[in-house]
Subunit: 467 residues, 2 copies
């Protein structure tokens, strides 16, 4: 396996570091807050700015794609090798809301470097991580002497991720042909820590529902009627209590159908992570761990399907007391799904399970929303091995593997395009996503650049092993 000499790549990056950071700062100054309608022009400006920047980087094609909401940016740089694999990079150019008075030490939209960290809204989530691909592909070309990337490189940078990606799936479906890829690289996640570079191999899926339980036509007196009619708040509570068995396994029949369990090798690799449970509990602002019997905390949050109640309500919740049987109650549930689970099948299982438990006299209304499929790339997938190798070269350290417990629009890419999804992120937990003083570590940002500088060559070379 021929490799671009690492020193060439590093020198190139050092030479272009300042211009790269200046350009990123210019982009970060655009307050592309997709959740706030008065920032809609900024989100459009951000898309235009990125498309222009990608053209300047060398992408022959860079387009702004309109949606019914905020626009996305698509760019494409074909390889001169027609046999090369096609890679689609996913990221987003919109950011979370931010205001100085939320606790920022400096203007969130006026980037500033302090102690080798770049502070700005979007520095890590996700403009910084999108941006390392620009200098990365140029370093790849410079070091290899190529005029086109070793892979057919495509970028899709959406503008509504921080608003729940409401039009993303439709966008991907509309442009499925142009987006076609052999692998998807998502740069919108993080790694374990500054000292422990990691590649994420999957995200959990999600099914969400609201169950409304209707009892008496209005709140009724618990003295006059209590003990003799069904109470919808009791039904709501019983549903939630019945979610899990005594081993903290989800007790809904059919819920685990198809679940791909962890392999012994994956469990070994997860166990190698320097996991400190008391530190994790501090991050979780929680006071004890608790979960499915037979699994570690990391396995529970990353690799096992779960059921959680996100909200429950019914009757009187104010100060003091009110002796009523409430007229109605509601339960909001979310189910995290892992590889092998089908959200539609889970929905049917939950509906059947819930309806069976509703007593006579209570009417039950179940609404499902926002299903997201899980995604998981096997550890021996050649693209995953390439990402890990490239990252290992950049960080000069062994790369470990993680998963992500949350769910994201990446699953739509996997679904529609039928391509495996890999996660390449250089953000660390202290970067303050969605919080005041969001920052990116400059050293890590440049490691991101370096990783992609190695990645495309490695991927092209090793793709022949792909399944």
């Amino acid at each position: 396996m021929s490799q671009t000499p690492d020193s060439v790549v590093r020198t190139y990056i050092q030479q272009h570091r300042d211009a790269f950071l200046d350009d990123l700062a210019e982009w970060l100054r655009i307050p592309s807050v997709s959740a706030q309608p008065d920032h809609a022009p900024d989100v459009r400006r951000s898309a235009d700015w990125l498309a222009a920047e990608l053209k300047e980087t060398g992408f022959p094609t860079a387009e702004v794609w309109q949606t019914p909401g905020a626009p996305a940016v698509f760019a494409e740089w074909p390889s001169d090798d027609p046999q090369a694999p096609t890679v689609l990079v996913y990221g987003h150019h919109d950011v979370q809301p931010a205001a100085r008075e939320d606790g920022w030490d400096s203007d969130p939209f006026e980037p500033v470097v302090r102690e080798n960290r770049l502070y700005a809204r979007g520095a890590a989530d996700d403009k910084g991580q999108v941006f390392f691909h620009t200098l990365g592909v140029r370093a790849h070309l410079a070091a290899t002497g190529r005029s086109t990337p070793a892979v057919h490189l495509k970028l899709l940078i959406e503008g509504e991720e921080e608003s729940g990606s409401p039009h993303f799936r439709a966008l991907v479906e509309e442009h499925a042909e142009r987006l076609a890829a052999d692998a998807v690289i998502v740069s919108d996640t993080g790694m374990w820590s500054e000292d422990t570079p990691t590649v994420c191999t999957g995200m959990r899926g999600l099914a969400e529902c609201e169950i409304r339980l209707h009892g008496p036509d209005q709140d009724i007196h618990s003295g006059s009627f209590g003990g003799a009619v069904p109470n919808p708040a009791t039904t709501a509570a019983r549903l939630v209590a019945a979610l899990h068995d005594e081993h903290a396994r989800v007790a809904i029949p059919g819920f685990y159908d198809g679940v791909v369990d962890l392999t012994d090798r994956e469990r070994e690799l997860l166990a190698e992570l320097p996991f400190d449970e008391s530190q994790w509990l501090r991050t979780a602002k929680s006071y004890a761990t608790q979960g499915e019997a037979g699994y570690t905390t990391l396995e529970r949050v990353w690799a096992r399907p779960t059921a959680e109640v996100n909200g429950i309500g019914g009757g009187y919740q104010g100060p003091g007391s009110k002796t009523i049987i409430p007229s109605s109650a509601l339960v909001k549930l979310s189910f995290r799904l892992v590889a092998g689970q089908d959200p539609d099948h889970v929905e049917q299982a939950v509906r059947a399970w819930a309806e069976r438990q509703v007593p006579a006299g209570i009417r039950c209304e179940i609404t499902f929303s926002g299903a997201t499929r899980p995604c998981l790339t096997p550890l021996d997938h050649p693209a995953l091995r390439s990402v890990a190798r490239a990252m290992g070269r950049a960080f000069e350290k062994p790369v470990r593997f993680t998963r992500e417990g949350g769910s994201g629009p990446a699953a739509d890419l996997q679904d529609v395009l039928g391509a495996p999804v890999l996660f390449l992120g250089i953000s660390v937990p202290s970067d303050g996503w969605h919080a005041p003083n969001e920052k990116v570590e400059l050293d890590l940002l440049l490691k991101g650049v370096e990783t992609t500088a190695y990645l495309w060559g490695d991927l092209a070379e090793n793709w022949r092993d792909a399944p």
Copy 2:
């Protein structure tokens, strides 16, 4: 047993009917709404008015008793027979809020008679039912030729019942000596129906608590942490689900300690009531009955202890979804208690039961409030027999027995004074307590007058059988 001739009583009542109704209307014009601070002067005016009216009725003593809240009225008319039993009548002179725009067909504080019904706030709850005692005692004197009642008659008419009687127990304790009585007659309830005169033999007690469950220090992401830390909303739901066993019996160990069960005779008598379950369900605005196995609906609401969730809340309850593990959750429970149960013992049982179920990582805070003892007078109690006889004479019908599922301050009288409590009410379910267009049936109101006209003589005569 010598009886006052009924015709004499009836003639007397007919002669004084108009003046009686005029006086009641004058009282009803005073908007003595205890829950609304700007009506405090009206509540005081109502107390003053009643004290003056009772003096005019003939009570040698009629006083306004101040409390830290609204004043009560106490009146006393000793019998010339020193051996006569002492009876304390309880009622209240404050009323629920009412406004024309709530759906009243006429001004709630401008009494009007339509179709032999008197419409006004307080007509049934409770001014009308307090007031029948004024003409009743005069009819008793007129028909028997006595100058003092056959019993030592006391009245205590409180001014904060519609505000939860916050100072009532302290008032009773302060004046326990002057309030001392052999029996308490509560005129603040109703009877089965216009066609079925009934005497209520007891009310359930009440223990109320709020359980707050604290989990993570703030709402946390259910994708990142779900399935690995305890969720306080789940704990809340499990507590509620664990309240009852599969027979709908309360599953809290020790909860049933001391419960006085229904006798066969009581069950027979309850079964004789013309109970129409579908009509009852319409009143309950509910769609099915459900309750403790082995008991009828009436037994469940009147004579069995119950546990109900009055409110449950935690996490996100708005539209759509929010994938969080909530930081905290709360449950509001109320327990209705029957004779033999001690609210303090129930509190200890509930605390022990709840605390045992709270997992590591969840902090539990339990607050009890507003305990009310149950009260129950045995069917063979001579005072109860007197009330039933007097009512039977007035209504010229057999009198049946009920209980009341709710709870009231009457229990404080039973507690502090150590006297049995009897319930003499002539209100019917259609009277619209706490609702627009509250009314009292004039025929029933006068039957109330007539009942008390017979009652004092009967009670004095038969008291020797008292235990």
